[in-house]
Symmetry: C2
DNA sequence: CGCGCTTGATCAATCGTTTGCGCAACCGGT
DNA sequence: ACCGGTTGCGCAAACGATTGATCAAGCGCG
């Protein structure tokens, strides 16, 4: 692999000159003729600055880690794209990690931050993770931006969960539903709380009395959604519609409905919060409220960059674009 | 962040001594007393060797990249786990590459290999990728192990595609099916070829005449499976069962069957090659042939390590555990 | 007592890059 | 011709870890 001194020799100048030219410092005093020769030589030998040498000198790796609970979750496609696009735009490479492996305090995590392999971390904590502990194990050791959730001392970025849930419920109300179940996330989870709030707000605005038994707190996974649906559909007076707080949970809701012989949307309407490509392939295709996850990813990286550069802790909500309803076929008017 | 000299100062020895103790070289001549003091001091200051310094000196980063066409594909969960486990076992960090940019030839890829950020690459080429071109853009620039597919000059690791397909078809034959469709992968793809071969082999062994119109070559995605099913189910004499060469395609097959009002498995049996958690949540849950993808991942990394250490190009097949049929509810005896 | 050998530890060079500083050469103005 | 001010470039010192070379003791042995 070509190094700086190779380029220097080829161009007949010193390594410092080459470094200055290639780093593109306009304040550097190098003649245009030399610049040309250097650039030409660099191109000829296919020079790329050695990562280790650079990182050692600059105390910076231009690597940021994105840690999510499960990389194969279709929901993370958009988030990941956003993170990566913004990272690339800032000249960084993204290191994608599964949080099972990257448990703060775990061996891999120690290597990442302890050995200085990354400049900063964008973390989406697992539901149920302890914020205090995360603050200790992560926040104190590396620049950190959390997603969906705040932890003490770290910046955070969220999406308008409450508004999205409200939109979902309002859509069902507009279709004529009055008894609407809510298949929510885990009780402790901040997003679960916000989404439940949004749902209740919609009911309130429509003058519909909220019934506690119509709200479950089981989680965002497929099996959680299925359990939620089983609970809601076992109610004496069955809901005619269910808002699933997560698109994966919604898939579980569909499965449970099918298992009970209920046709969607004829017997039960379903609206999910979040959109993902999987929602197009369910039966019926899921009506969703799409969240600005791509922008969430970009904003997270931008925020992280501020922290790395010494900026203050900040909390942002990504409100543009707004959550928008994507109508497919899982929601219809109730069959009186 | 604590460095070697900090530990040295605290233990009252030189940096070289510390380095030798901490690197665990048994040949190093250091007294047991000093070793203890060094280890104690290192633990006290929480020393982790600086990545950049180490990489610079050793010309090695202990990072391997796993490049797959699409990280959110549920199929990659197992593969990724295998790769990561083996990487960790060998003291490496796995860099999971997602974007189109990371694909060979993209700008990020150039940074990865050009800047020496990774020691080697485990690559699952996209279907339809040109082997010659990959050999040029990747194989010549970094140690490389490919998955599922060979490219010139690089080691490769595969799973027994042919056997798996044979098992799938044999299962349907055992259930009594005689007219069996095969929803295959892209025509040029080596795995598609091997799986189709296995399917035909099963028919041959059972003395069933193969009909070319019962084999499609559309690809592994959901939409491909759907198109394949549409094609097969439009045949004058409809197959009573379909083997989907990929679990994602199988989901598409289910969707198409449903769209045509066919009940699975009453009107149509479906068996998929590969297993993934998504297969448990379809309707009906998919009968699959599970492939040793976790072991594939581990073997790929082990093979890559050999190459990095100067080993010769080698081609392996992961045959343990064998492909095994996971019976769920999408396959049954044909009606009448 | 001196020699060779082993043991325990330090010195210093090295990896590739960046960057503050110094040093010529050259400019225009007196 | 002299001189302050620029311009163009190279020298050399970091950054943190590894490792061959080196060196001072200590020991056994004749």
């Amino acid at each position: 692999m070509a190094k700086l001194s190779d380029v220097a020799a080829r161009a007949g100048v010193s390594v410092s000159a080459v470094s200055r030219v290639l780093s593109g410092d306009p304040a550097a005093r190098v003649s245009e003729a030399t610049r040309d020769r250097v650039r030409k030589a660099a191109a000829e030998v296919g020079y790329h600055p050695n990562f280790a040498g650079r990182a050692l000198k600059l105390a910076r790796t231009d690597v940021i880690a994105l840690i999510v609970p499960d990389v194969t979750n279709a929901l993370f496609t958009e988030l990941t794209r956003g993170v990566e696009d913004e990272a690339v735009a800032r000249g960084c490479v993204m290191l994608l990690a599964r949080s099972e492996d990257m448990q703060p305090g775990g061996p891999m995590f120690d290597r990442l931050v302890g050995e200085g392999r990354v400049d900063g971390i964008v973390l989406q904590p697992r539901d149920g993770a302890d914020p205090q502990e995360l603050a200790r194990t992560v926040g104190e050791r590396a620049p950190l931006v959390t997603i969906h959730q705040r932890i003490p001392g770290a910046s955070s970025v969220v999406v308008p969960d409450e508004l999205a849930a409200r939109r979902a419920t309002e859509h069902l109300i507009a279709l004529g539903h009055r008894r609407i179940g809510f298949a929510g996330g885990l009780a402790g989870s901040p997003t679960a709380q916000r989404r439940a709030d949004g749902h209740l707000e919609a009911l309130l605005r429509a003058g519909i009395a909220a019934a506690p038994e119509l709200v479950t707190w089981r989680g965002y996974r497929e099996s959680d959604g299925r359990a939620s649906a089983a609970e809601l559909l076992a109610l004496p007076q069955r809901p005619t519609a269910i808002v699933a707080a997560n698109v994966n949970a919604a898939i579980g809701v569909l499965a449970q409905a099918r298992a009970q012989g209920l046709a969607v949307p004829r017997d039960l309407s379903v609206v999910a919060i979040h959109d993902a490509w999987t929602a197009e392939h369910t039966w019926p295709p899921l009506t969703c409220v799409r969240m600005p996850l791509y922008e969430l990813g970009r904003t997270a990286v931008a925020t992280l960059a501020e922290i790395v550069d010494g900026g203050a802790v900040v909390h942002r909500s990504v409100d543009d674009p707004e959550p928008v309803l994507v109508g497919r076929e899982s929601a219809a008017a109730p069959r009186n």
